[in-house]
């Protein structure tokens, strides 16, 4: 094996919005990489070796060194392959990007899951309210910009890919109204721009595959009840 050969591997599952973030970052940078599909029900030795702490995907391995946590991986990619920057060079803009990306993880992704995958109506209501509040903050933040990153997609857009692709499917399965053009016109417009961005389009998983998984998981809650 040539010593100057870059070894780049991504361990993931097709349906994961977190894994999708890493695909986007790698494709934006034009980095060649090997993708390994994991099974979360039967975790490989490789996954357990590379992410012993959380045992989750995505895991990114560069020249034998593993990194876990999608947003950390995206920042690492940005710092290692410096063309087509994902983060601004200005410290204040970087701080804002990190703040909003974390906000999306804490207040949008996890909370939407809680709102959908529950049989408890009160839980559903409470979490739906929280998601709507969070989307309102993002509506206020996007203003009339094309992307959160400006003219080009940045860290926040990558972090938020969950919103235009996963939320519409989740809300359909659970009969919820979360992201609508009526409630959040500016965010909705942004979501369409993001979904149609060339690199994002290439990075998204097959819709049918994800929808089927969501539907199965949702229905299984009611079966056991």
């Amino acid at each position: 094996m040539a010593s100057n050969q870059e070894e780049v591997t991504l361990l993931g599952v097709t349906r994961s919005p977190f894994v999708c973030r890493v695909h986007i970052a790698l494709k934006l940078k034009g980095v060649e990489y090997k993708y390994v599909e994991e099974s979360l029900f039967n975790k490989s030795d490789l996954l357990l070796k590379y992410n012993p702490v959380h045992k989750k995907v995505p895991v990114f391995v560069h020249n034998g060194k593993p990194i876990a946590e999608s947003l950390l991986i995206v920042e690492y990619i940005d710092q290692t392959w410096t063309h087509n920057p994902i983060l601004s060079s200005d410290p204040y803009q970087r701080a804002l990007a990190r703040f909003w990306s974390k906000f999306i993880d804490d207040k949008v992704v996890g909370v939407t899951s809680k709102a959908v995958f529950t049989v408890d109506e009160k839980e559903r209501e409470k979490n739906t309210e929280e998601v709507l509040e969070a989307l309102q903050f993002l509506e206020n933040e996007i203003k009339d910009n094309k992307f959160f990153g400006g003219e080009e997609i940045g860290l926040v857009d990558i972090a938020a890919v969950f919103i235009p692709f996963w939320i519409p499917m989740l809300q359909e399965v659970a009969g919820l109204e979360l992201l609508t053009s009526h409630k959040f016109p500016k965010l909705y417009k942004w979501s369409q721009e993001l979904i149609n961005h060339l690199v994002v389009k290439e990075s998204l998983p097959p819709r049918d595959h994800v929808f089927a998984f969501i539907k199965r998981r949702y229905e299984s809650l009611f079966i056991s009840k």
Binding site: I67, L72, Y76, P91, Y92, Q93, R98, F103
Partner: protein, 256 residues
């Protein structure tokens, strides 16, 4: 992209002073760097350590437990929580984001984050791990009455200590701190909780940071506490135990 702009800072800080009767120093000039925080908050302590490392002067604005100031609500409308750093009238929230901002805005040594991207990723990983595991478990320990209910959270704290003992070996590479020969990102993220760790040990009469189990961490904690950037910032266990009596822990668990 912007957060809410804070109105004229001098006006705001004078208003704030009237409300809380604290911090008389700030009245005269509008300083470039302000920190809204609490003496007891590990997250606030992180930011203070970072500011100290860079030898930065700042105006300390102490929030009270009971009543959130207008300044805080304006500066952090999303979470309405401390710490918030205000630099040139622009607010930044979330302690680890603030610490990175400080490191990038004032890049003079000592560096807080490592220079190599892989080491940076590792540093961020461990800091995030602490955030996800440590304080949430601590809150539950204070909130729950029954020992049985607290047990699983004590187990989480033990697990964190085990992992950090192991991580110390890998990150420090024989040097005194996670960051090497000077304190760094992981030291700040974890060390800021040493006060509350002692408070838990005292209140529940149970030693967690045991030398036999965690020899590297025990020595590291001693060195960390006396580092010039840290000295005086870690609150005494007595004071935190006293404070813990008036905190609504159950409510604290509810919100993230």
């Amino acid at each position: 992209m912007s957060m809410v702009k804070v109105p004229l800072v001098t006006r705001m800080s004078m208003q704030f002073n009237k409300r809380t009767n604290s911090n008389p120093i700030c009245m005269v000039k509008s300083s470039e760097v302000k920190l809204i925080g609490k003496w007891s908050s590990s997250y606030t302590i992180r930011v203070k350590i970072a500011l100290n490392m860079k030898s930065l002067e700042y105006e300390n604005i102490e929030e009270t437990l009971k009543h959130k100031s207008d300044l805080l609500l304006h500066s952090n409308p999303v979470y309405a929580r401390i710490p918030v750093l205000i630099h040139r009238d622009r607010p930044i929230s979330e302690s680890l984001v603030i610490v990175e901002y400080i490191d990038e805005t004032w890049p003079t040594p000592p560096s807080i984050l490592p220079s190599h991207p892989y080491d940076r990723a590792l540093a961020r990983f461990w800091a995030t791990y602490i955030d996800d595991k440590w304080f949430p478990s601590m809150k539950c320990i204070f909130a729950f009455e029954a020992e049985e209910e607290r047990k699983p959270y004590f187990e989480v704290l033990e697990e964190v200590l085990e992992r950090m003992e192991d991580a110390f070996g890998k990150c420090s590479k024989g040097e005194p701190f996670f960051g090497g020969d000077t304190i760094g990102f992981i030291d700040i993220a974890f060390g800021s909780f040493l006060g509350w760790l002692s408070a838990v040990e005292q209140k529940f009469e149970r030693k967690l940071l045991i030398e036999a189990k965690f020899p590297a961490l025990v020595k590291w904690a001693e060195r960390f506490a006396v580092d010039p950037a840290v000295k005086g910032l870690i609150p005494e266990a007595d004071k935190l135990v006293e404070l813990s009596k008036s905190i609504k822990w159950r409510a604290a668990i509810e919100k993230k």
